[in-house]
């Protein structure tokens, strides 16, 4: 697979299918693992970093699950390519910085991504569409076992998997669920919900993980605690929290439909109208308007546009994607024009 092949592909997690996919965009499990013979990436010298990458590359070749995957060395990619992978949620923003001896393994379906030499030697993530953490866990668990067959991981029976940062020690697992909560935002109940989440030792982030702002009513919720509970317990804890948030979002959606239907329909249809006719549009405005259209589709107010088409627009209207599609560098102003054109094309054709 070549990097540009991804342009014509819809990531599994964008398909808009799976349980509760009207509110839960995607479910992701990430595992952090380290080789026991080497210093962690930030503490390894040049030679050691090279060796780490080589050892993991070798291991990959013997793993059946990774037969239809591609390893990209970050040193071989230009800035645009790296940004492109970040926008597709296939690697972190941090991974795109200082790229010596770093790599990412991506499977053809874009379900699995394994970062090499990020904060830990291995950061493997599995993303599913909809509310599906257990399925994601079962799949990544097998891949983790396959790696453990080839590599010797840093592990203590008392403390579990040993990671560069002690906040990941133990299971090395982070389960994250991406939620679309427009009704809780519009009814101004979101702060109450977020405060409750923080009290329960879960974290909320924006679309692109650590340090990013919530935009377009998207919130990513994940566990903070990695030690003292089994993976299944941690997932069950996240699940029960997410079930409550889904319930609250649904109640808010119903309340708006019954009390403010005209206002809601107006806002959704105006959002769609702007997207269908704008000639210049920023990425921030795009996300906000698409969020309303997505809500309209979920509530049956908009009937002829499905979740998948909207989800795809969220991804392909981002800066690196636009430039990849155009196959050239674009200034911010040029991007705003191209973005508006692309959205019109996609929304005006059936």
């Amino acid at each position: 697979m070549k990097l540009n092949d991804l342009l014509n592909h819809t990531s599994e997690w964008l398909k808009g299918t799976g349980p509760h996919s009207d509110i839960v965009i995607s479910s992701r499990i990430r595992l952090a693992r380290n080789l026991d013979k080497f210093p962690f990436p930030h503490w390894a010298d040049k030679k050691q970093s090279e060796d780490i990458l080589e050892v993991i590359e070798k291991a990959r070749e013997s793993i059946g699950y990774l037969r239809s995957s591609t390893l990209f060395k970050l040193a071989d990619l230009d800035g645009l390519d790296k940004q492109f992978l970040v926008e597709r949620h296939l690697m972190s923003h941090e991974h795109a910085q200082k790229t010596d001896h770093k790599a990412v393994i991506i499977d053809d379906e874009e379900i699995l991504a394994v970062m090499i030499n990020e904060e830990d030697h291995l950061r493997m993530q599995l993303m599913q569409s909809g509310f599906n953490l257990f399925e994601a866990w079962n799949a990544i668990n097998k891949i983790d076992d396959a790696f453990a067959n080839e590599l010797s991981f840093a592990f203590l029976s008392d403390w579990g998997y040993l990671t560069a940062c002690p906040t990941n020690t133990g299971t090395g697992m982070r389960g994250s669920v991406m939620l679309h909560l427009p009704a809780l935002v519009m009814t101004q109940q979101i702060n109450r919900v977020l405060a409750a989440i923080a009290k329960l030792s879960f974290t909320t982030r924006g679309l692109y993980g650590e340090g990013t702002q919530a935009s377009g009513n998207f919130f990513q919720i994940s566990n903070q605690v990695a030690l003292g509970h089994s993976e299944e317990e941690i997932i069950e804890n996240i699940n029960s929290l997410i079930r409550q948030i889904i319930e609250q979002e649904n109640q808010s959606r119903e309340a708006m439909l019954s009390k403010n239907r005209a206002m809601l329909e107006d806002r959704i249809n105006r959002s769609l109208a702007i997207l269908k006719s704008a000639r210049i549009i920023s990425s921030q405005e795009t996300i906000e308007l698409l969020s309303m259209v997505r809500l309209g589709a979920d509530l049956g107010i908009i009937k002829d546009i499905d979740a998948r088409r909207i989800n795809e627009l969220f991804i392909i209207t981002q800066p690196a994607h636009l430039q990849k599609i155009e196959n050239k560098k674009l200034t911010s102003q040029e991007r705003d024009v191209k973005r508006a054109g692309l959205i019109r094309d996609r929304l005006n054709t059936h």
Binding site: T163, G228, E233
Partner: protein
């Protein structure tokens, strides 16, 4: 290193005395240091200074923690505190006594109950099973569920009887 005075217990207090420009190093166990302390107090009134030097209640002074170093990757505990990242897997063993309380503060627990790598899984499975049972036993005793506690105690005995656990 054993105590210079009694020669029996490990020396945990290290003193440098300078008398008439003669430097003397003394390595004492906790008990002998206490005696030395009261002796010196009556002689020189230096009790405050000594109390500061030998903080008997603290397991290890802050300074000792800071200078602790991982023998594998050479990262010191002071460096860890500065950068917030450990240097390698063996740092966890090197800094075990400081990291235990830290992990507990972060996660609310410092005992792993999750999966383990396949190769190590048999030995570790047993260890974690034992840990889990011991925790259950504590809980049962706490709730005065003595029948349940007895049943768990038997399970622990049974598990311990089968082949010794590697550590």
């Amino acid at each position: 290193m054993l105590c210079d005075v009694c020669g029996k217990n490990p020396a945990t207090v290290h003193l440098t005395e300078i008398i008439d420009e003669q430097m003397n190093e003394l390595h004492l166990c906790e008990e002998c240091a206490r005696q030395k302390s009261s002796q010196m107090e009556s002689q020189f009134g230096l009790s405050d200074l000594l109390a500061g030097l030998a903080d008997f209640e603290k397991p290890l002074s802050e300074q000792e923690a800071e200078s602790a170093k991982c023998p594998n990757c050479q990262l010191t505990y002071a460096e860890f505190k500065k950068i917030g990242r450990l240097g390698c897997g063996q740092c966890y063993t090197a800094f075990k006594k400081y990291l235990g309380p830290l992990l507990k503060r972060i996660h609310g627990s410092n005992i792993h109950f999750g999966k383990s790598p396949l190769k190590a899984s048999r030995v570790i499975k047993k260890k974690t099973d034992l840990q889990e049972l011991r925790l259950k036993l504590q809980k049962a005793v706490g709730m005065e569920a003595f029948e349940e506690a007895a049943r768990i105690r038997d399970q622990i005995k049974e598990l311990e009887r089968n082949k010794p656990v590697d550590s």
